[in-house]
């Protein structure tokens, strides 16, 4: 007997400008980050001219973290935010650096341990869409330059809401849409020519940096992301544009 039913088509999502089956995206993103992990910090400094440090500083300043707090740094990568949070929360607090990518997590762990950041920091390999933490557990959750790589952003935001304590804050630092169209054109030119070139020269991998530029364009703009956070259940959602809107910091509070 022949089965006349067609196999159900798997939902698709975007990977940069490509459309891929949802199950493929995480694998492809993982390949990108395995490839760039070793030179991640160097490339960040080179591509942003060091300005990414200021974006992260501002995130820390707006986090409202204080001694004794429990902080979750999702997609924490090489630990730039974790290092600062570790200092702020002190020995009575706790910082969890979570990343889905083992290579990035190892680079981050080695870097933090080498610089003496220990005691109140733990490292967890975790998927932002299904965070392995109890409900109402953290005072602050941050995700810096990670949300655009997540397959189901809504699920990730809901998961972050779940693990936050009532009154806790979520901070999403992510590339966004330049506010000035002319500046946007210059930024596009830079992204699609200089970034892959840097990638080729430094990591011998231009494709990963082409993906970076494409994934930024596919990421929701400021207002859309704000709406997504509100829809997930966050209150008092605001955002701050930085460097002409290249990057935006969204902040929401769990009711």
């Amino acid at each position: 007997m022949n089965d006349s039913r067609k196999p159900e088509a798997e939902p698709t999502t975007h990977f940069g400008y490509q459309t891929v089956p949802e199950s493929e995206k995480a694998k492809k993103v993982a390949e990108v980050f395995h490839s760039v992990a070793a030179k991640y910090d160097l490339m960040n400094d080179l591509m942003s001219g060091g300005v990414h440090r200021l974006w992260k500083r501002f995130t820390i300043e707006l986090s409202g973290a204080r001694p004794g707090n429990r902080v979750l740094d999702i997609a924490g990568g090489t630990g730039d935010l974790t290092r600062q949070f570790s200092r702020i929360v002190g020995p009575t607090g706790e910082v969890v650096l979570a990343d889905i990518n083992a290579s990035m997590l190892m680079v981050g762990r080695d870097k933090l341990l080498d610089s003496g950041v220990t005691g109140n920091v733990s490292f967890v390999q975790a998927d932002a869409e299904a965070l392995p933490f109890p409900d109402n557990h953290f005072d602050v959750v941050t995700i810096a330059f990670g949300l655009r790589n997540v397959t189901h952003k809504d699920a990730a935001i809901r998961s972050m809401l779940r693990v936050l304590k009532p009154g806790g804050r979520l901070l999403v630092l992510e590339f966004s849409k330049p506010t000035n169209p002319l500046f946007g054109k210059v930024y596009d030119l830079y992204s699609f020519t200089a970034l892959p070139l840097f990638g080729k020269l430094i990591t011998n991998d231009s494709a990963s940096y082409r993906y970076l530029a494409e994934s930024i364009r596919m990421h929701p703009d400021q207002e859309t992301l704000k709406g997504m956070m509100e829809e997930a259940g966050f209150e008092r959602v605001t955002y701050h544009n930085m460097t002409g809107g290249i990057v935006a910091l969204h902040r929401g509070v769990k009711p």
Binding site: R53, L54, R57, F58, I60, E61, L62, S63, G64, A65, R66, P67, R87, I88, G90, M242, T243
Partner: protein
């Protein structure tokens, strides 16, 4: 963002300097977790200081609770930074202080009593012998310059007061002021006596 960038640059310059004084770093570590806000009234500017074992972190914004807020115009803040008697400045009418004042005075004291061991750091570049030689030369030169300046100040004062008689000397002026005080007191006594005499004449 501009203020964040400026403060990041200042922090980058300040902390290696603080690291030259091991005692200061140990004292700063004791203030770890404290957040001090400096609210300059004129010009309007707010800076947050977060001391810790790795120096002082500066921030343009801070959303968490602040342990101590100091509000004052820039002139008073400058006085506070340079004055030996910080408590007197803090009690001034233009200065407002909320919260843990002890943390603020401790931080101010750490910054004022910095003793930078630049010779040790220099030793890392040119070797201990070179650093010691250069250090002794520089200390000698600084001592000579200090002595010369003191001597010049004394000679100039003597010349102006004693030789050219352009200015009145300090001791001479003090003697005159003392005589004037005596005279004023004598006059006051005389005035009181005359008043008593006048009163006595009226009653009799």
């Amino acid at each position: 963002m501009l203020s964040t960038a400026l403060l990041a640059a200042v922090e980058r310059g300040l902390n290696p300097l603080l690291a030259l004084d091991a005692v200061a770093m140990a004292r700063l570590a004791r203030l770890q977790g404290k957040v001090l806000a400096i609210d300059c009234a004129a010009p309007a500017l707010q800076i947050y200081l977060l001391p810790g074992a790795d120096g002082i972190r500066l921030a343009a914004h801070w959303e968490a609770e602040v342990d101590c807020t100091l509000r004052a115009p820039a002139s008073e803040l400058l006085r506070l930074a340079t004055s030996r008697d910080k408590v007197a400045v803090l009690h001034g009418p233009l200065v407002e202080l909320d919260g843990d004042a002890a943390a603020l005075t401790e931080l101010a004291d750490i910054l004022q009593s910095l003793e930078l061991d630049w010779e040790y750091q220099l030793g890392g570049w040119i070797g201990p012998l070179g650093a010691a030689l250069l250090g002794s030369r520089l200390r000698g030169a600084a001592g000579w310059a200090g002595d010369s300046l003191g001597s010049l100040r004394q000679n100039l004062a003597e010349y102006l007061a004693e030789e050219s008689r352009t200015l009145v000397g300090r001791r001479e002026a003090e003697a005159r002021f003392s005589e004037l005080d005596e005279l004023k007191l004598a006059l006051d006594r005389l005035e009181a006596r005359v008043e008593r005499l006048g009163g006595g004449t009226r009653t009799s």
